[in-house]
């Protein structure tokens, strides 16, 4: 079961998964959110994105998910320039990403199974494949047997694991998590982080935005630190 999740989908081998090249993002009313940010992530790398609130962490993640476009510079995801991606291409870019949110963003009126299956349904997988892969993903995050529950009947940690199962179900090469442990206690946070490390082990690139400095230091991965929109450490 574990094997079906372990190999990420690799359409073409690009050693650099994500590249920010002198990227700035200016909002018309709020000013510069990101200023001249340059870094790259190798395939299979694990990195934290830290900084005070309002430092630009969320903006940076939004640029990768094409929820925003940068004002200057360019963002390359798996070799593809996101600046020039058309609206029509955006869904297919997002299928390369596993997005995880602080508020989980689960559909409250759907079962755990339906929530986790969503990326596969959207991508047009058959019923049979969906059932098999959803169970494998739920097994991986330790929620097998809770397929028929509604999200609100689960604890916060369990809901976040549903979110993670959904994010990895279609084997994306890059996982982006925005404060994934923001609403969880330290013990649950460690468990969630352990899951992310498992994904890295099998070649997935992981970028986690967090302000939990203690957790970041304890885990000892690469840290990208933002301060008022500038990258001050990478």
């Amino acid at each position: 079961m574990r094997n079906s999740l372990s190999t990420p989908y690799l359409p073409k081998i690009n050693r650099i998964m994500l590249k920010f090249d002198h990227v700035s993002k200016r909002y018309p009313d709020a000013g510069d959110a990101l200023l001249d940010v340059t870094f790259h992530l190798q395939r299979g790398e694990f990195a934290f994105l830290t900084g005070h609130s309002g430092a630009g962490k969320s903006t940076l993640l939004k640029l990768i998910a094409v929820m925003e476009r940068c004002s200057r510079g360019q963002v390359l995801l798996d070799g593809q320039n996101l600046n020039t991606a058309s609206d029509r291409q955006i869904p297919y870019i997002r299928r390369k990403l596993g997005l995880i949110f602080q508020d989980y963003k689960l559909l409250q009126d759907r079962t755990v199974f339906d929530n986790v299956a969503l990326p596969l349904v959207v991508a047009g997988y058959s019923h049979f494949d969906i059932g098999r892969r959803v169970r494998a993903a739920l097994d991986k995050v330790g929620l097998l047997g809770k397929e028929k529950k509604l999200p609100q009947t689960l604890s916060g940690g369990e809901q976040q694991r549903v979110g993670i199962a959904r994010a990895v179900i279609n084997k994306p090469p890059l996982i982006l998590a925005d404060e994934p442990t923001g609403n969880l206690d330290p013990e649950l946070s460690s468990e969630i982080m352990k899951l992310f490390e498992d994904f890295q082990q099998v070649g997935v690139t992981v970028l986690i935005a967090t302000h939990d400095i203690a957790l970041v230091e304890r885990m000892g991965h690469r840290v990208l630190q933002l301060d008022h929109g500038r990258l001050v450490a990478s």
Binding site: K105, P119, A123
Partner: protein, 305 residues
């Protein structure tokens, strides 16, 4: 892959129906309003169609009736008719003798008994002149009419076509009125459905955003809403058909009675099977079109951020 595609469509078809069924009161109210609009259009259409059927037989009465002077005998009338037949633009001329006229009058007017009280036949000899079909209107017809009126034996002439023409003009007006009304009611259906879909989209905004974030194409997101539009239009079409049929059914008896008094010249016409199918097809199409228009506009505004 095809199987998965069909799965997606079947899923959207039934999930949108299920969604409507889960809010039965709201759905029923929307469908009722829609079907009232549709049945109004269908009802007026049928009204005009029925009247047209009633007046359809009048097409042949493009004729000039010549009422001959009282002293002109039937024989003289027949001779005159032969003469008129040789006129240009005259297709045929037929004599109705005094006695024939009386018999016809007795049969159709219902005043037969009153006629017995008269000591002599008061009706004149009549010649019915059929102009050529090409002569529907214009100066040639006017000239023919004038020539016939000027004949010595003719008391007065009547162009039957005039009132038929008036009637047809009225029917044409009614026909166009119904088309116009149907158009306005179709717009109403579009707006009502569009607004329903817009509200539905608003209620499911989170779902749309999450679907977009996990890589759903606009087409995927649109699908269930398009099916919702289809179901609304489809069920309103069916309901409108039922409403119109029930209304006609209620009218059937008094109309039959009325028709009986006029020798059964009129039998009521219901929507044919083909008309029913087009009614349902048009309303379904309107539902889908309204949903599509709203989605095109709204989905561009619904961005994940």
């Amino acid at each position: 892959m095809l199987q998965a595609y069909l799965d997606i469509h079947a899923q959207a078809l039934f999930s949108s129906l299920g969604r409507l069924a889960r809010a039965p009161v709201t759905s029923l109210m929307t469908v009722s309003v829609l079907s009232i609009a549709i049945s109004l259009a269908a009802g007026f259409y049928l009204l005009v169609a029925n009247i047209q059927q009633l007046t359809g037989g009048l097409e042949d009465s493009n004729q000039i009736s010549l009422f001959l002077k009282d002293q002109v005998t039937d024989d003289a009338g027949v001779k005159l008719a032969e003469k008129i037949k040789t006129f240009v633009h005259v297709q045929d001329a037929k004599v109705i003798t005094k006695n024939q006229g009386l018999a016809e009058f007795r049969e159709y007017s219902g005043f037969g008994d009153a006629l017995k009280a008269l000591d002599k036949n008061p009706l004149p000899t009549v010649i019915q002149v059929m102009p050529e079909h090409s002569l529907e209107e214009g100066p040639q017809l006017d000239e023919l009419f004038k020539n016939l009126t000027d004949l010595q034996e003719v008391d007065f002439a009547q162009l039957d076509m005039q009132w038929v023409k008036r009637l047809y003009s009225i029917m044409e007006l009614a026909d166009r009125g119904v088309t116009l009304l149907s158009f306005i009611l179709a717009l109403a259906v579009l707006f009502i459905t569009g607004n329903t879909i817009r509200l539905e989209l608003h209620n499911r905004r989170d779902e749309v955003i999450i679907a977009k974030l996990v890589g759903a194409t606009n087409r995927f997101i649109q699908r269930p809403f398009l099916y919702t539009g289809f179901w609304l239009g489809f069920s309103s079409g069916i309901l409108a058909w039922i409403a119109v049929t029930v209304m006609l059914f209620i009218l059937q008896q008094p109309i039959d009675r009325l028709s009986g008094l006029y020798d059964g010249v009129f039998s009521m016409r219901y929507l044919s099977f083909g008309e029913m199918m087009s009614l349902v097809a048009i309303s379904s199409l309107l539902g889908v079109a309204a949903a599509w228009a709203v989605l095109c506009y709204q989905l561009r505004l619904t961005k994940p951020e």
